[in-house]
């Protein structure tokens, strides 16, 4: 555990000296800010005509989840691939930590960074709480945020695992992007055409475990199992990739 934490701390700090991470954070926060302003404006306009309701912030989190498809590959691409390219992997792999600890630590570092971004977006419900009466429904938001963390954790684990397969960041980015996009959206497309396999394909779809459950205020064990499996697959892939490197 201590080793995972040591690795995670270093990775987390690294994001704050990395221009890519700043650019991504700025981009995401800008887009979410615009979306928040739009939701506010819409509700205000509706209220002027005597109807409507308070802005629904779960829409904002749904948008954030979609943005993760783009930012996670960029955040994870260098995690292991860059160490392979620079050769620094040699000193890490010869220090007394297991391959699992290394991959898990890198994943946790990425998760802490995304969690920081998610933390910053808490500013929206807090400001909204002052503007509406009787305040926001924090119970729905709580599960919505929890689901968002699960999605981020799953994507980051897959990205970290894929990064361990490559010594080239761009390759790691592209493969992670394709995998994550497939899970988000592509896998659901043929589901309509195949009645038998369709149910399984739809189960693989990330949004089917978020949009109508976590993001609608309900927590299901099956969804948690789904996300934990993705995390396990990602970290296992990474550990296996490192292990296989020794035998080459």
């Amino acid at each position: 555990m201590q080793n995972i934490w040591t690795i995670a701390k270093r990775e987390y700090k690294h994001y704050f000296i990395s221009p890519i991470a700043y650019a991504l954070a700025a981009g995401v926060l800008f887009m979410l800010g615009v979306a928040f302003a739009f939701l506010l404006g819409q509700s205000t306009q509706m209220a002027l005509y005597g109807g409507g309701s308070a802005p629904d912030l779960t829409q904002l989190n749904g948008f954030f989840a979609f943005l993760l498809v783009f930012i996670v590959p960029a955040l994870t691409m260098r995690l292991v691939a860059d160490e392979t390219r620079m050769g620094t992997i040699e000193l890490i792999l010869t220090s007394p930590i297991s391959d699992f600890e290394l991959v898990a630590g890198k994943w946790l570092g990425g998760l802490l960074f995304v969690a920081t971004l998610i933390g910053i977006t808490l500013i929206y419900p807090i400001t909204l709480n002052f503007m509406v009466d009787p305040g926001v429904d924090y119970r729905v938001l709580l599960t919505s945020y929890l689901g968002l963390i699960f999605i981020a954790a799953s994507f980051l684990a897959l990205g970290t695992g894929i990064s361990a397969l490559f010594s080239n960041q761009l390759a790691a980015f592209l493969v992670t992007f394709v995998v994550v996009l497939t899970l988000w959206w592509l896998v659901g497309l043929p589901a309509e055409l195949m009645p038998k396999a369709g149910a399984f394909l739809r189960y693989l779809e990330v949004n089917s475990h978020y949009a109508f459950t976590f993001n609608a205020g309900s927590i299901h064990l099956s969804d948690i199992v789904y996300f934990l499996s993705l995390i396990a697959v990602g970290i296992f892939t990474g550990a296996m990739a490192l292990e296989s490197r020794r035998w080459r």
């Binding site: 620079m86 620094t88 000193l91 010869t94 930590i97 035998w247």
Partner: protein, 310 residues
């Protein structure tokens, strides 16, 4: 401390190590000598758990490098040839990070002590990326010494250093080598001669010679080499010397002196001296040259290739 038994490593179809077998005791500094691509780095990478061998076994401090890799890694300090460091980190933070990975108590103090050992304490707040090659080399060495390991594995530890730094680093190695086992690779033969208790010459994945530097010299010096120097012109000197019975391989050196060899059983030096003086040359000096490790090394690796050709 280190036991290597019939270690073989294949990279695809190329055999990098061929049933390599050797041992290193505690408190011993063992030099690993060989041309590029001889298998030095591969052996070190196997010992440090970075790579697995194709066959054979290796033990460090009694632990198997594959089955008990973590135990081995806890006891080894390793300086890879390329000295891979995180260039975006501050020296102190980097060493603290490595110390934390090794669960060193009072890591801050230990990092400072180690920086002091390698003479880099004044740079602890600087970025690694701004350091010169020699300084990075010393940070790499500090990283290997942090946990005061039982076994130190240093791949070309003095490469890229300026002469005074080389002396400093050698002193550090000599100091830590007193109670630890050090395996260092080098292609600077004088370094092996100065530092090592024992030298392993490795070529094409096999150990071709294993001995102390002193013994190696004694053992491999077949013929005595002598250099003769005269005042002024040396025209015809080579021919004169060549005529003396028992002289072998007389030839002019670029600086005007003449070198010849003779077998120890038949000391022809007085005869050569007489011949030189009687021929009217002013003899300035005549001295025996010791064969350096360099020559031994060339001889051994050449013999090995020639034997293969036959």
């Amino acid at each position: 401390m280190i036991q290597v038994n019939e270690l073989t490593k294949d990279y695809g179809s190329r055999r990098a190590l061929h049933e390599l077998t050797f041992e290193a005791q505690q408190g011993e500094i063992v030099g690993f000598l060989g041309p590029n691509g001889a298998g030095k780095t591969t052996t070190m990478r196997i010992l440090t758990g970075y790579m697995a061998p194709t066959s054979g076994e290796a033990r460090v401090a009694g632990y198997d490098v594959i089955k008990e890799s973590l135990e081995v890694r806890r006891r080894i300090g390793y300086l890879p040839e390329t000295v891979p460091l995180y260039t975006e980190m501050v020296v102190f933070d980097y060493l603290k990070f490595m110390a934390d990975l090794r669960h060193i108590p009072n890591a801050d103090e230990r990092v400072e002590e180690t920086l002091e050992m390698v003479g880099m304490l004044d740079r602890s707040e600087g970025y690694i990326g701004n350091l010169s090659k020699g300084m990075r080399q010393r940070i790499g060495l500090a990283q290997a010494l942090l946990h005061r390991p039982e076994v130190l594995i240093l791949d070309e530890p003095t490469i890229g250093l300026d002469p005074s730094q080389v002396v400093d680093v050698r002193n550090v190695i000599r100091e830590v080598g007193k109670e630890r086992t050090v395996l260092l690779s080098t292609h600077i033969l004088s370094e092996a001669q100065q530092l090592c208790d024992r030298v392993l010459i490795i070529n094409k994945g096999k150990i071709v010679v294993e001995d102390t530097p002193q013994n190696l010299q004694a053992r491999l010096v077949g013929a005595e080499h002598v250099v003769v120097r005269v005042r002024g012109d040396n025209d015809g000197l080579v021919e004169k010397i060549r005529k003396v019975k028992g002289v072998q391989n007389a030839h002019a050196l670029p600086d005007g002196a003449v070198e010849y060899q003779f077998m120890p059983a038949q000391d022809v030096r007085p005869e050569v001296a007489k011949a030189v003086i009687q021929s009217g040359y002013d003899l300035l000096e005549m001295h025996a040259v010791k064969m350096s490790l360099e020559d031994i090394f060339l001889e051994v690796t050449r013999e090995d290739t020639e034997r293969k050709k036959k």
